[in-house]
């Protein structure tokens, strides 16, 4: 394994002018990325998530050579993105969910052909990659339609194809599923999953769609206010934030005596004690069920996986409190709230079990 992306103490500051009076303006420095350390190995599929304004896009733009870092260092494919931008561009692919990299007035087919010349891709390689994308992303029916007439879902499939035609080693996807309908989203997701599974392309994905994360990312880097607040698997995220699986059982009769099992806590009773909810911490659901079956008659049972929405929302709140405190040098009160406008845009929460 070798590192494809290495960032250390990466920073980006912007100077903004704020109106403070009728004519007066003051300059203020806003830190968008505040010392990020990150190493991504070849073939990883990394989810890079955080609330709006956390610095996700800014990080990606520093990695792709669009923005010049204010401090720290970053290397992608062993190259310094800004000074070696043009060399790097041949080795990475970029998709911006909110911005088209295609020719607005030309059909996709012609855009792809232009890209072949721009990246100087051998005709055979180009044709082979395009064929694969055409099949997997079902491009054929709109290949000859000008980009301006495509639906968002069609365009996004075109954008992803465009980013892959030169065979990049790293693919940066900035909110590729934003605004897509369910079917397009599923198509895009399936394609990314396949790409990740093949292991020859490193994928960095930013998203607000938590289903993308659960489906695609083995590793999650969560940033908030320009800092990494979590780096690890989805499971370790759950562990760290105490989100636990729950078991809900329906009994014929209320229990005679409470269940006493280490790691099991009774968190709710309903229906006069005939419906019980337990939370599990380090115990398998099997152990609890076996114990219950021994002392009572089980009628129904369900296991509820933790919803990532809640975990991530909790993480952001905790994260912003941490950083606020560390910056100010004093402990912020327990009521420290994230700044307005930094809310987490979760998709409509899915109640009950989430598909694992």
């Amino acid at each position: 394994m070798s590192a494809v992306i290495e960032a250390s103490a990466l920073r980006k500051e912007f100077t903004v002018r704020v109106r403070t009076g009728r004519l007066r303006r003051t300059r203020r420095t806003v830190t968008a990325v505040d010392g990020i350390d990150l190493v991504v190995e070849r073939g990883e599929l990394l989810g890079y998530i955080g609330p709006n304004g956390a610095g996700k896009s800014t990080t990606l733009k520093m990695m792709t050579g669009i923005l010049t870092p204010s401090g720290g260092s970053v290397r992608v494919c062993g190259l310094a993105p800004v000074p070696q931008r043009r060399r790097l561009a041949r080795r990475i692919g970029v998709v911006f969910g909110q911005r088209s990299l295609l020719w607005w007035d030309l059909p996709l087919r012609e855009s792809f052909d232009l890209l072949r010349h721009i990246y100087q891709v051998p005709a055979g390689d180009h044709a082979a990659r395009l064929r694969r994308c055409r099949q997997r992303l079902e491009l054929d029916e709109f290949l000859d339609v000008p980009v301006r007439q495509l639906s968002l879902g069609q365009r996004m499939r075109g954008e992803i194809t465009a980013a892959l035609l030169h065979g990049p080693e790293v693919l940066f996807l900035d909110e590729p599923t934003i605004g897509l309908d369910l079917l397009s989203r599923e198509a895009v997701r399936g394609f990314i999953a396949e790409l990740g599974a093949r292991g020859d392309t490193t994928v960095v994905l930013t998203t607000h769609d938590l289903n993308d994360i659960e489906r695609l990312c083995r590793r999650l880097v969560v940033i908030d206010r320009g800092r990494v607040v979590h780096d690890g698997t989805l499971e370790s995220l759950h562990e760290r934030f105490g989100s636990t699986r729950r078991v809900v059982v329906d009994l014929d009769e209320p229990l005679a005596e409470p269940v006493d099992l280490p790691g099991v806590t009774l968190v709710g009773t309903a229906a006069q004690g005939r419906r019980l909810t337990f939370s599990l911490d380090g115990v398998g659901a099997g152990a609890l069920v076996a114990r219950l079956a021994a002392v009572a008659e089980l009628r129904d049972l369900s296991v509820v996986e933790p919803a990532i929405e809640t975990v991530v929302a909790r993480l952001y709140t905790a994260g912003s409190r941490d950083t606020a405190a560390s910056r100010a040098g004093v402990a912020a009160g327990p009521d420290a709230e994230p700044a307005p406008g930094r809310s987490w845009r979760a998709p409509s929460p899915t109640p009950g079990t989430t598909a694992g």
Binding site: S57, K61, R86, A89, Q98, L101, D105, L114, H117, Y119
Partner: protein, 264 residues
Amino acid sequence: MAAAYLALLRGQVRSQTSYRASFTVDLVSNLLVTVGDVIAILVLFRVTTELAGFSRSEALVVVGLSACAFACADLAVGNIDQLRRYVRTGLLDALLVRPLGALPQLLAMDLPLRKVSRAGFGVTVLVVFLALADIDWTPSKVALAVAAPVGGAAFFAAVFIAGATVAFWWIESGELANSVTYGGREIAYYPMTVYEGAFRRLFGFGLGFAFVAYYPALALLGREDPLGLPGWVGWVAPAVALPAAGVAAVAWRVGIRHYRSTGS
């Protein structure tokens, strides 16, 4: 590498001509604008036959040189004023992720084909006015008659680019850059003797607009400079494009490092 830029140009040509009617209208209206400019000057000469010590045919050589230089520069890089829009909307991102220089891409993608008519008219005007003037043609004067509009075009191009880079620092710069480029063109249209003192020193010599058309015209016409510069100045005047291009290149390089993109 050239093939890559050619591909971009091809895409641009295909995009623009995909709106056929509007393209034709643009072509014609652009021609009318330039014709109007020249007519305005001819009207001036209906009132007077002499302009600050220059006869009509002499002054028209200055007009021809600057009109041709400006129209060619406008065709090649005129749409760089769109940089403002690219910076404001973050569209520049799209150019920066491609393995090509951002500036050539910007020029190739925005090449205003509709301005072809203007450039063609500029060249025509130059040829006609040179033919009308009383010039004692020698091979070196022919060479200067070619070098002067080329150098002048490069000079205007540098002014266009340097002016546009203001957008990297100041997005709300509005038409500031255009006031320098179009203002500079107006200055270059007339013999420098028309202008007075500080204004002439600043725009003519300081910013270099006197060297676009006025000095090459003096050399072509074999006239002495009423302002007192030696005769060889007219022969090297087209080289004014070099320092201008240097300044523009530095401004661009520094500017692009200041590019801030947009949120998300």
